[in-house]
């Protein structure tokens, strides 16, 4: 089914993938998700095959989002394996505009059909045709971003754990900085704040892609979240648990002073 829908209308994880459906659910429940569209696996494949009607359709839907764009793979839920494709399928940040989208979608389609992805699929016992949905959103230019665990992923304690750094959250997710580390109890009481070593910030660059920008020396060990922001994150943790259930792993960003939810999934056994 070659379809593009607003994120909030992405209902079927076998068509649009788990990330798209999860974010759609978040929007329907009033969580602060950046605007975006969900692309079905079939239309991603059609774009990768160079089909002009599909390319035009995708560009038409993406154009109102402006630019730059965050283009994220949204793995199909195949026998509960969607989460484990996170490392296999590509995410492309800072695609300059809707006109450059087809090249980005081609890369994502191939990431799901690459040698390593196919080898991985065989290892987990999947012998079906790979398909990957895509989420296209306006790319934020965050002051700070990171991850939030609604329950301690290491000790299992009933507390919030937040890891944060300057700029895009990829600096935290990819492990290229030692992020600030915070622990809060459920009431929002701060139990621990430990500054990290944030020598670089990941930022979008004009023309596409991202760059690791040097952080000024005085900000390297300065905490990037204040009390108000920690309280907002604690409230977001509570809302995510109401919507999705307990023990969530949340990616978030503060851009222009507003908190956004970028992704919410179950905490895996090994943490992240």
């Amino acid at each position: 089914m070659k379809r593009v829908v607003p994120l909030e209308k992405a209902l079927d994880a076998t068509i649009f993938g788990s990330k798209a459906v999860g974010l759609g659910q978040a929007i329907r429940d009033g969580l602060p998700v950046p605007p975006g569209v969900a692309l079905s696996g079939a239309i991603v494949e059609a774009v990768a095959a160079g089909e002009q009607p599909a390319i035009r359709e995708v560009a038409k839907w993406a154009r109102p989002l402006g630019g730059p764009l965050a283009v994220r793979s949204s793995a199909m839920d195949e026998d509960g394996n969607a989460a484990s494709f996170a490392g296999q399928h590509l995410t492309l940040l800072n695609v300059p505009s809707a006109d450059e989208l087809s090249a980005a979608l081609s890369k994502i389609w191939w990431s799901a059909n690459s040698d390593s992805a196919i080898t991985y699929r065989k290892r987990v016992g999947l012998f079906t045709r790979p398909s990957v949905g895509v989420v296209v959103q306006a790319l934020l230019d965050p002051e700070a971003a990171g991850v939030l665990f609604t329950k301690n992923p290491v000790t299992g304690a009933d507390e919030r754990v937040i890891e944060a750094s300057w700029g895009l959250g990829e600096a935290v997710v990819a492990g290229i900085v030692i992020p600030d580390h915070y622990r809060l109890d459920r009431s929002g009481q701060v139990l621990e704040r430990k500054p990290g070593l944030k020598r670089v910030a990941v930022r979008g660059v004009p023309g596409g892609g991202t760059v690791e920008e040097q952080v000024p020396a005085e900000r390297v060990e300065r905490l990037c979240l204040g009390d108000d922001q920690l309280q907002e994150l604690n409230r977001l943790a509570g809302r995510c648990e109401q919507v999705y259930g307990l023990a969530r792993d949340v990616e978030w960003a503060f851009a222009s002073g507003t908190l956004y939810l970028l992704q919410c999934r179950a905490i895996t056994k090994a943490g992240r």
Partner: protein
């Protein structure tokens, strides 16, 4: 442009017995794939998923770390992996921006399953290739 160049596919031994029209059917299934300079195209020992034809650019072929040859426009690799998804025999690395056309196992298989004539010709050609290999 959609699909791989037919004239290149007609040089692939596996497709030697196919008519131009049959090769055209296969050519249409290819999708463009671009690699950046320095990017690993395929890794020796890794499971293979697709057959590639080079449209433009260059890549080096290395086996156990030793460079063997250079690939350029109209060269191709991985046609057997497209059938069995078996391990790659060499590491191929793009030395310039590389534009390829790739055909995956999952795109090729339905065509062969639906077209017994193509399937039989491929089988005969593979039998011949096996004989040639045995005879050294």
């Amino acid at each position: 442009m959609r699909g791989a160049p037919v004239k290149v596919l007609q040089r692939v031994p596996l497709f030697a017995d196919l008519t131009r029209s049959e090769v055209q059917q296969i050519a249409r299934l290819f999708k463009e794939r671009r690699f950046a300079e320095g990017e690993t195209v395929v890794q020796e020992g890794s499971g293979g998923a697709a057959f590639f034809v080079i449209e433009s650019g260059e890549a080096t072929v290395a086996i156990r770390g030793k460079k063997k040859t250079t690939l350029k426009a109209d060269d191709y690799f991985g046609e057997i992996a497209m059938i069995d998804e078996g391990p790659r025999m060499a590491t191929i690395t793009a030395t310039t921006e590389l534009v390829c056309y790739g055909l995956t196992y999952w795109d090729f298989r339905p065509l062969v399953e639906a077209n017994g004539v193509i399937g039989w010709k491929l089988l005969q050609r593979m039998a011949q290739m096996l004989r040639d290999a045995r005879e050294g």
